[in-house]
Symmetry: D3
Subunit: 133 residues, 6 copies
């Protein structure tokens, strides 16, 4: 199995609802590093998994929706705790759609899975990995 | 599959028995970075895999047993080579017990696997990953 | 010249006033890594610059004031842009006072300077360095 | 499952054929970090996955073939795009042969899989992972 | 003294003339991380050293001249060994000119020095630091 | 001012005498990353500060004296606390001698200062910097 991963980062504010979050119930923020990995059983005729240029473009477009924002005020995130784990899935869903819309420069069915890793600090990170089909 | 990983470090002395270890047969030491990842198919109602605060507490309690120690003199490690690989498994076993004892703030059966990664230097690390059930 | 540096991190929200900040004028946030270095011409009789345990304690106490907070709502920061650069100086001032109050386990006059480094992302950081006397 | 991973780096020149590569069609270069992970279900009687000394030796010998070279001029790479992904597989193949030739200090059949990770920049990397048998 | 530093990277090919370079006399390449630090005694009225957006723009424009290139074929570099150290100075000179041309969003005379750091591998880097006036 | 820095690591055991060290009074250990920087006002005719190959050789020879050792049992370290800070100076002294013995491929007087940085964990490091003449 081959994989290629690209990464970027965002700087956001948010708060969490639930006693389990302790001091993180207050409005605070994070620099999140976000890495997206594409899995394929084969390389294409150019010797690549996906077009890295496309991957970076989709990543920038995806992150622009949340970068420099207070996630508590984004209507589509209303009522959810935008935890590190939840964000891995949100980014995954954007990329799953992008792959299926043929935006990665690779036949969609040839990318069989994605993994999205979000780092919140030097000591904590989360990821979501799932097949696409 | 969702995962959350927390990390910390320890500073220990030890020696190895066996010609395969070359100069590492002598008493030497290491700063080991230790990361523990929890895998779950779903997020709980708070949007998390485990309570990160609990995970950090269990990690600190686990590492306290070995931190600032000569592992050669810990009775329960008597007769074993406390290699990086062996330590990944030892930490795994402590966390497997902690999950089953419901110390991570998540229903034990909802955490299906763990991965423990131990880094010994910028150029070498090991990990142990296994299902819990 | 000898130096010892310890580091930790915080997760905060804030916003900036001024067109120069572009999208960062909106409420957003950051994971800031914070490192504090102590400079001395000599080691003490124990062979150290400062007591690292004390340094970590003062760092935790200093960062607790801002960690998991919206810096825009901290009264003492009223009317200032809490930029990365500004924070380096704020942390510096807390440590300058701590050194002079003899909280680092070293005769204050033997620590001649401090440097505080704050990282805001993988691609940007700031620092403030100055003599203490 | 246990794994041990060792890493090193190379500094090479190369160019790519295909419009998908944009500016990377020109002769350019890279510092590639190369990490090789060995997977085993068990530790041997010494408490290790493989002999790390052997692993480092095989890695150095493998990378020597390409280090400080223009990959476009290596006859055995003629006609291929030596992409990050392609290199992960080339290194994998060298190590698969080395394991089977019993050069890792571990019974070959006890190493069930390898993963080779190649980093090209702080923001992009690739890996190849496959069973050996 | 305040400093702010931004960083990026390039992927280039080059070769060196001189026996001291050993195998690096052959055409090879590097991923160079490039960080530029701006020093100032004071913050401006916005609480910043320079406009980070401007700093990133100048860095991108500077690196575009060399990124994805064979440095041996850049006419202005003719006859020089484009070593890591030499590159630190070349980038410094571009930024010294940019500061003096008032492209950093800060009164030129208020930036008293620059430091450019170029990393060539996990184990080696160089820097050039000098006053501007 | 130009600088070039090379780095490596060691894995050692040691203990400290003095209540200030708390649990580190017991025999423990560390993976120490060790970086040595050479400062010069000019580049030589090859465009370098020092011969990096020589620098790496001297670093390996220096570290071999302590690598995989219990520093408490090295006769020349008898009676000293081999703290991170103390080690920065010990390595500095070895390199100061090597520069003066013309082992770095550069006229000794053209290297005006050295800085040795020793990292003990992700959160703590020390350095020693001084002129050579």
């Amino acid at each position: 199995m081959y994989a290629v991963e690209v990464s970027d980062h965002i700087m956001i504010a948010h708060s969490f609802k639930g006693e389990v979050f302790g001091p993180a119930q207050a409005l605070h923020g994070a620099t999140f590093t976000v890495a997206v990995a594409f899995m394929s059983e084969t390389l294409d005729q150019n010797g690549i998994v996906v077009d890295i240029g496309c991957a970076i473009d989709v990543l920038k477009a995806t992150l622009k929706v949340v970068n420099y924002k207070n996630l508590d005020e984004i209507p589509q995130f209303n009522g959810v705790n935008t935890t590190t784990e939840w964000l891995t899935r949100w980014v995954f869903d954007q990329f799953a759609a992008a792959v299926k819309a043929d935006k990665l420069g690779r036949a969609p069915r040839e990318i069989f899975a994605l993994r999205v890793t979000v780092g919140e600090s030097p000591n904590a990170r989360g990821w979501y990995e799932a097949p696409l089909w």
